[in-house]
Every structure is written in C-alpha cells, then in structure tokens.
Amino acid sequence: MSDAPPSQPSVIERIPEATQRRRRAWRMFKDGLARYGVTVGGVGVIIAVVLIFFYLLYVVMPLLKPGSAEPVTDYALPGGGQTLHLAMEEQGEIAVRFTDEEVLFFRTRSGEPVSRHPLPLPAGVQVSIFAVGEPGSGVVAYGLSDGTALVVRHDYRITYPDDQRLITPELKFPLGTNPVKVAAEGETLQRLAVQVGEENSTLVGLTDQGQLQLARIRQEESFLGGETEIVRTHSQLPLTLSQPRYLLVNPTQRFLYAATRSGELARYDIRDPASPALLEQLSISEGGSELTSLELLAGGISLLAGYSDGGISQWFSVREENSDHERLQRIRGFDAYDSPITAIAPEHSRKGLLAVDAQGRLSIYHTTAHKQILSRQVIDGGLRKVAVSPRADYWLAEDTQQRLHFWKIDNEHPEISWSSLWGKVWYESYDEPAYIWQSSSASNDHEPKFSLTPLAFGTLKAAFYAMLIATPLAILGAIYTSYFMAPKMRGSIKPAIEIMEALPTVILGFLAGLWLAPYVETHLPGIFSLLIVMPFGVLLFAWLWHLLPWQLRTRVPDGWEAAMLIPVVLLIGWLSLSLSPLMEVWLFDGDMRLWLKQELGLDFDQRNSIVVGLAMGFAVIPTIFSIAEDAIFNVPKHLTSGSLALGATPWQTLTRVVLLTASPGIFSAVMIGMGRAVGETMIVLMATGNTPVMDMNIFQGMRTLAANIAVEMPESAVGSTHYRVLFLAALVLFMFTFVVNTLAEIVRQRLRRKYSSL
C-alpha cells in the first residue's frame, strides 16, 4: 500500500477515479487517526504528569480529614447491677462489663451475652471498691471488704474453625484465684489502684481507717522449676490528703498518684516498696472546679484530669531548671463544655482520649496535636461510663438510663495538626516545648514526634550554605564568560560546565562524605584562608600584570584572563592548604576543633555544613551559571555598542547597562539554583550526619526533607501517619520547587520578550 504523492499528473490520470477516491479517503483517515492519536497521547502524558501532584495530595488528604463518628446501635444494658467498668477486645466485636457480682461478656452489636463469670469470692466477703490497671493489659482488681483484692484479667482467644474468626472470651487470674492481701489488718478497702507487670505487681489500697497501704507482689520461678513463688512486700504510705478519691499507679509501678475531689494531688515514689516516699503535693484544680475524673494517658507518663466545669488537662512531671528535681506540671488543657466530665477513657496505643460528660456529650481529644478531634451529643441525658476499643475504632458509652451506645469512630491520624507539624510541642518527658522530628522508636508507647520544622530548617540551612558558595562563583563566572571571554575559549567552557551539571550527585556526595569531609577536618584553617586570600591574591596578580611592560601584556589577547589565572588560583590554593597545619599551630594551638569548642563553644561534626555547602555548591554552580550566562549573553548588542560608543569603559557598560537589563534573568537563575539545592537528596544524605538539629552552626550537620524521605520512606508502613507525613514532606518539596521554578520561568519569558522588543 503506497501512499506516496504521485509526482506527475499523467500518473494520476491513469489511476481510476474510484481508486483515487479510496486512496484519498484512506489518507484522510490516517491523517485523522494521527491527529487523534497524537492528541490523546499528548494530553495523556500531560495528565500523567499532573497526576503526580494529585496523587501526592490524595495520599496526604487523610491527614487533614477531621475525625468522625457515627452511631451503630444502642440497647439496654445486658445483665443487672451497677457497671464498674467497660472494655472491648481488639476487633470491637465483644465487650466486657464488670459489676460487683459477675463479669459479663457480650456482643457489642446486639448486647447479647456471650458468657457470664460469677466472681469467685470467699463466703461473707463483699466487693467494696474496683480498680482498673493499664487498659492494654486488660487487668482490673476488685477490692474486698476483708482487706484483700481479687485481680482479674479479661483475655480473648482467637481461633479460625472453618476459616471463620471465632473469638472466645476468657477470664484469667494473674495472681491466682485467691484474693491477695492488701490491707495488713484486714480493714475494708475504700480505694484501690492496681498494676500488673511481667514480674512485679503493685496494689495500693486506702482502708476505711484512712491508711494508705501498698503491697508489691513478686512472682519468682523457684529454683527447682515448676511452681512460681509469690513474694509479698508490704508497707504503709504517709497520707497527707484527706479522703483521697483517686488512686493511680503508673504502668512501670514507679509512681503512685493520690488525689482528692477538691484537686489536691500527692505523688509518691514507690520504686522501692519497702520505703515509699512522698515526692510532692500540689493542687491540680482549675478555677475552683472539682476533680471529677483522673486517668493515665497511654504509656503512663501523663495524668489526665477531668473537671466539674467540663475542662480536661494533661499533666506530667518536668525537671526543674538547674536541678534534678522533677515537678508535676500542667502541660495543656482542652476547652470546656460546662458540664462535669464523668469518665475519661485513654486510647490504648495512641496519645488520644475519650471523655464523656453529664449532659450526654462525648468528645475525643489528642494530646500531642492539642486538638479536639470531634464532639458528639450521644444522648440528651448523662453518660456514666465509656470504653474505647484497642484500635480506637469503636466506642461504647453507658448512659444514666441503663442503655449502651455503640458507635464507630473514623479517626486515623489524630496526631496531626498544624501545631504538631510546624509548631513547638511539649512532648512527654521533655523539659520544655521543642521542635522535634523522631518518627519511630523501639518502644510501643512512644509518642511520635512529627515536627517538620527541623527538617525544613535543615533544608534551608543546606541550601543557604550551598548558595553562599555557588551564587558568587556562578554569577561572576557567567558575567565573565558571556561578556569578556574570547569566543574560542567560551566554546570550550560551555561544554565543561554542562558536564559539571551532568555529574551524578551520588558521586559528589560520596566524594564530599569520604574525601572532602576528612580533608576539611584536617585542613580547616586552610579552607577558611583559601576563601579569604583568594580574591586578594587574584587582585595582586592582576596588579602585577598591569605593571608589566605593554609589549609583554599584549602577547596575551583580551578574553584569556581566565586561562592565565588557572595557575595562579592553583598556586594560591596549594599554598593555603599546605600552610594549613602551620596556621593551625600558630593561631589555634595546633587543634582548631578543640579551639572552636573551648573558645567559641561550637561543636564540630566531621560531616558539617561547610562540606555540604562546598559539595552542593558545586552541584548548583552549573545550573545558575548556564541560565545567567544565557541571560547576559542575549542582551541586545546595540545596547552595549551604544554605551561603549558614548565612551563608557567595558566595566561601566557591564554594570550600568548589561547587568541591569539582564538582572531578571540572573534572579531567575538564582531561584532555579535554589530549587535544585532545596531538593537535592544524595549529597546531603552522604555529606551530613543526618541529625535533625535546629542550629545555624556552620560546623554542624542537618537533616533535610529530601534526605529524611530517602532514609525513612522504605521503613514506613503503608497508610500509617508516618507514611503520609513523608508524603506531605514530598508534597512540600514539590510545591516549593514548582512555585520557585514557575516564578523563575515567568520572569525569564518576560525577559525574552523584552529582548526581542528591544
């Protein structure tokens, strides 16, 4: 099938009309096909490119989505009696209700009982009080009228008969089915706190005689194997509060908190059960309101206090300035709804909490992000108890009319807020609010610290030092190359700079990290003197050259100064660097690092900002150079000719005419170079220590957004907050460079139009 255009009319005439028409139709069809094919392909490619932005946004969006909750069902309370505690298992299918008679497991979606377990209480003994251990452990304790306590754990076994998940609830007794003695003299327990660990368990009880008694139970494998032996330590704590209403032991069993309804709180050190000590006593009441709820946040470091005016506040101990002494301090509070908080349920593995109040409102908060996730009116009436499932995806709330409300929560990323991403946050165990990036740690109760500020700071710091090196070199070089250099030399300089641009950054990074960093460390004075001496050395050489007889000078034509300067620059460089040890001995007592530390108090990292500045400066020079050179070279020739004809020297023409005209182009060159420095990954990854510090010190490293992504992305779980925050970092980089580049590009296009109109 040949569709070549026939060259001679006679040939066309010889072809039958019908064939001609067919052929023309076929050609037209092909033309249309090409048009549509190319259009579809072209538009498709452009859409694919736009997709990058939207996909990044799509992954980041869930971070910004507010939490939500919707009711699933509500039903009458299964079983009788007064609810002491509610809890759910991992899947949110089965819940447990503790009353003073029995433990009742029931289905969360229907309220239908699954199994009931009467309490194995000795005859004639009643339940007097109830305590809850760490939520994740499932441990609770019944305080009894004979001064003992029964420790119970709700546990769930998951089996898959016929590929169907079957959850069987069980009741376990970690300290045995016999109640454990808490009150030494057998007094009735009025208040109780419990915490069960791997080896040690702690029970603290307040007796009806007003005594605070502590029992530490240690389970030891006996040497002969088999039976575990229980060792019990007992002691009495000094009680300075009257009628404490709340008792809490933290999960590490190190601290005991006792608080009264009026908000007086005492903190004890019970690490050594034989000699407990009162650490401090203070009031945590706010504006005269009463304390209506006191719980520990997941991890057990923070106290959460709910008040009668509906407020909630978070407290943890902070080291006082200039001392080792720690004091409990109010960290942050959440806004009030004017109705007393009746119960607080901390989430099991995150730093969030659920709170219910006396007017039927349930609110979810997150402490690190310092925000209210949501607040719902569950019922017009009061809510008494609340439980949250371990995955924090369901809640179960009991109202004052003996009904249970089962809701589903959608709250994937509560830890993200504007303030937790960019602001100073007071993290647990820190002495003050700080900008911290620490996305993961070994412990489960770790509070993720997703502050992008230190990373953004590191990015800008790296870019700043790179630009400090690159901008003068690149722009001065561009001026010379485009305006003064002999065309022949220019022809070979441009490819050299292009090669420089093409060098893989991994190679620059590797040289910076393995060669330059140790070199800079040993030649620190030399590097600094190089930067200072170089301009003067060049000027000196130029002056000497100027003094040479005219016949000699004209041997070298104009525009070859750069070539002449190569040996000069080399000589100055060599001199500065080889004199470096001598300078170090004369000026810095032989060790500049030590001198910096002692005299200026500056820490020195081997992979520091100087190394990054030099290496990344090297990478950015060609980008700035080629764009700036282009802008200056394309300044219309009649402008310069006119200026020169009016008697201006070349230098005057350059500064007054050429640079003024080309300045937008130079600006856009710097912007594009900046964009490249901000997004560069491999160089900073290899040439810095990658510690996210916020310190402008030139002798220290940094961690940039890009390097952080490269380091942490492969390890982050898909869909997790960490994963999405890394996408957010990528989006920030994308937006930043895109905006900067677009600006630069628009400036350049304007300039080009201006040149063509001149």
């Binding site: 050609r27 040289l511 000069v568 005057q652 290899m686 992504i709 677009t742 296009q749």
Partner: protein, 556 residues
Amino acid sequence: MKRNLGNWFKSGTPWVWLNAAAVSASLIMVVGLLALIAVRGLAHFWPATVYEFEYLQTDGQHQRIIGEISDSEIVTRARIEASGSAEVPGDTPEVERLLIKTGNRDLVGLDFRWLLEPRVLERSMPTDVMAVERYEWGNFYGFLQRVKQEDQVVAEGEAAWQALQDRLARATELQHRIKDIEKGRIGSINYAMEQLRLDRRRLELEGRDTPENLAAIEAEQARLQADYEVLQRELGELYQQLRRDSFTATVMDGREVEVPLAKVVRAYRPNAMSTVDKFGFYFAKLWEFVSDEPREANTEGGIFPAIFGTVMMVMLMSVVVTPFGVVAAVYLREYAKQGPLTRTIRIAVNNLAGVPSIVYGVFGLGFFVYFLGGNIDDLFFPEAQPAPTFGTPGLFWAALTLALLTLPVVIVATEEGLSRIPSAIREGSLALGATKAETLWRTVLPMASPAMMTGLILAVARAAGEVAPLMLVGVVKLAPSLPVDGNPPFVHLERKFMHLGFHIYDVGFQSPNVEAARPLVYATALLLVLVIVVLNLAAIAIRNRLREQFKSFDQG
C-alpha cells in the same frame, strides 16, 4: 598610561579579573574532581608495592609491619597528642602519618593502621613478600614457606612459589565448576521448584486441584529433587577436591599461618613483578572488576551485576520514555492550539525537570509499587500471596519512575528540535498535497530526529546517575540474581536489581569496612562518570552538528 592604583580600580579591570577567577576556580573544580576520581579509581587495580617497616612502638619495642601504603597526610602535633596516641619524636609542629593496609584481618582484627613517620626506623621492599587475595577476610600479606597437599609438604623454599601457582590454577578451575553448578544448575532447579509450588497453589485457588493435576506436579517435583541430589553429590566431591591443597606463610609478627587454597583468589609478589607483569595484572584486575560478581559484602571483586542492572533499567526506561516524550512534544508543538494554555503547560513541563528527584521516588513507591503493583498482584498473581510479586519495588517500577523523571528532558529537547525546523519546509510539503500526518512523518520527524536523539541521550545520562528515587523503588545492595537469566520467561521485570550509583552509596556509606572498600568505590565512581561524560559529550556533539545543519538551511 599612569600606573596608579586608584585609576586602575576606577577602570574596573580588577573586577574583570575577579570574574575571570570565578571561571578559573569552577574549571579547576571540575577538572580536579574528574582527575581525583580518575587517579584514585585507576590506581585501584595497580599492584601496589608492599613495604616492610621497622616501627618503634610506644613501649620502646620494635615491631615489624608489612603492608601497602594506602594514604598519607600531614597533621599537627597537637592533634595527634590530643587524640591520645603516642608521643611524637622530634620537635617539628607537623608530622606525616601513613595509613598502612596490613591485611590479615582474620589474624590481627584490623586491616588498616596509622604509622607516624618519625617512628618508622626502617623501610624496605622485600622481593619475596607475597600478597594474596582471598574470598574472605580481605588481603593476606606474608612470606611463602611451603605448599601442602593433604597435610603433606610438597614444595618448600623457592620451588614453593611455582607449585603454589600451579595448584592455584587447579583450585580456580574447580571453583568455576562449583559456581557453575551452584549458580546455574541448582539455581534453575530451585526456580522450577518454586514455580511448581506456585502452580499448585494456583490450582488450589482455582479449585482445579484434582488428584491427576496434583500427581503431575508431585512427579515433576520428585524428578527435580532427584536431579538436585545428583548435583549435590557432584558438588560434594568437588568441594572435597578443592580442600586438598594449602600453603603456609609467615606473617609480620613471625607466626606461621596455614591458608587453604580454596580461600584464595590469586597470589602475587608485587615487589618482584616487572612493569610488563604489572600491566598484565592491572588488566586482569580491570577485567575482573567489570565482569565479575562482588565479594565480601561488595567491598571486593567486580561490579558486573550493578553494570547490568543499570544498563537494563536505562534501556527499559528509554523504551518507555521515547515514544511518550516524542508524542507529547509533537502534540504541544504541532497539534495543540498555541495559546495561553499551551504556554502554561509548556512552563509546567519545563518545571517538572526541576522537581526534586526524590519526589518522583515517593510517587513511584506510592502509585506504581503499592497501588498499581498491589492491584496487579491481586489480579494476576494470587497464588504467590501474601508474598508480593509486582507489589514490591522492582526493575519495572524503577524504569517507569525514571521514565517519568526524564520525560521533561525528552519533551523539551524534541520540542526545541521541532521549533528549529523552518516552517517553509512544512508549508512546502503541505502545498504539494501531503496531509499533516504525512508531512510530520516524512519530513518533520526525520529532521527532528537528531534532537530526539539528544533528548534521549540526556535522559539516559540523567537516569544512569540518579539514585535517590531508585532507593525507594527497586535497587538493593545485593541482588541474588540478575533480571535476565536462563529460566523462562527469561526477563524478570519484577526482580530487584543493583545499580552503579546506589552501589557507590551503599559500599561507601553502609559498608562495615569503609576503608577497605574505598578504592572500589572510586573505581565504580570512575566508571559511572565515564559513562555519563561520554553520553553527554555525544549529546553535545549531536546538538552542535544539528545547529550547523539548520544554519545551512537558513542560509540556503
């Protein structure tokens, strides 16, 4: 002509000189960097002289140290004293210190140590010192004493050297056969076994696990198992033969050490070699470097898998990026209505070239690997679940990610080529009755092809050097098998691969013994730089020729 400093400054000449100095400094930096890489990279293969030092230790004892000088530097006395090491004899403020590669890591723990030059009492180059490259523990330096066969001494003294070389040749031959069996034949049996397991699982999933089908699979498995056992026996015998020989040598502290030949790659006497021998050795090492697999956590041996992976990835990427880039450029330049929208798109495409490469990596990981790959796995590879096939970083996704990354390069270059074609040529073709498609296909595109070529070359150069996105979408430090092998379907796009750039990062920064790995990193860097410089020079040459061509068009 008054030679006055004030006038001189007023004339502006000094500033011109300063500007010139910026160019000189940039040039020196580029050339210096290339020279540094070239010198260090090429020196790696040269058989370095092995010295014997008489060294005065801090406790006044003399010690004999044998090794290659790997680096030397001048430091101030204060620094040495601050670092807590020995006091320095003499009173010069500066001291030279030498980094000596002493090898024998299995015997002394550290294979590098710093010597202070003033404490070196004597330095000699014994001709009979022997350097041995080993499969484990790095180099060995010592004086050959005797060669043994099954604990019987077969050669001693001067004759030992020849005997060692002969027996080493035999051991190398055996090593080759062992590798052939292990990598090749047992490798493909393992692959077939895995395929059978997957077949079986697929039958179960599709409910076709009838007894006949299962029996067929089991029969095949039994056959493979039998083959495997035969090979295993053969391998056992080869290993038995390999273990036959060994040699003993005295090391620097006077101990006599026995080294089995099974552990030896090559043995040579660098100080006794003539220049011709050294060149022979040099090229043998160079060949090993580009053709062999890495040893010892990538710090020794060759980088063939990395070269192969890079080439493979870049080729795949070119196949993807060329048509899409060209189509997009043709659309933008020839079909789209030239207006503000097209201008905006053009700016946007231009700017994508400036978006940090790591962003593409993040996109590739999220979209290609987890989203596309995850769905492909669900649809086509349910039998391999929960192990991902395409839902994990791999060669194909790496190529796609880099194609996206280099798309702007190709689009911009092609567009530039298209815009340089005088419109008279298009109009001429149209006036002769050709349709637009015909004009494009027969005149415009052929004329623009050098521009496309330039774009592609630049894209390849960029892709070959890019590492950051690849770290997320598919490179690994050590790939167990190449993406192409003898097992059907021969090309395995889902496999992870090795890459020159990542190799540099990994060996230079993640390796436990960076000092030992350093020369290899320089050599790898040199190779990568060479590839990229050559590609770029080619692009520049093509572009220049293109410009000349169109210049003649304009004039003619």
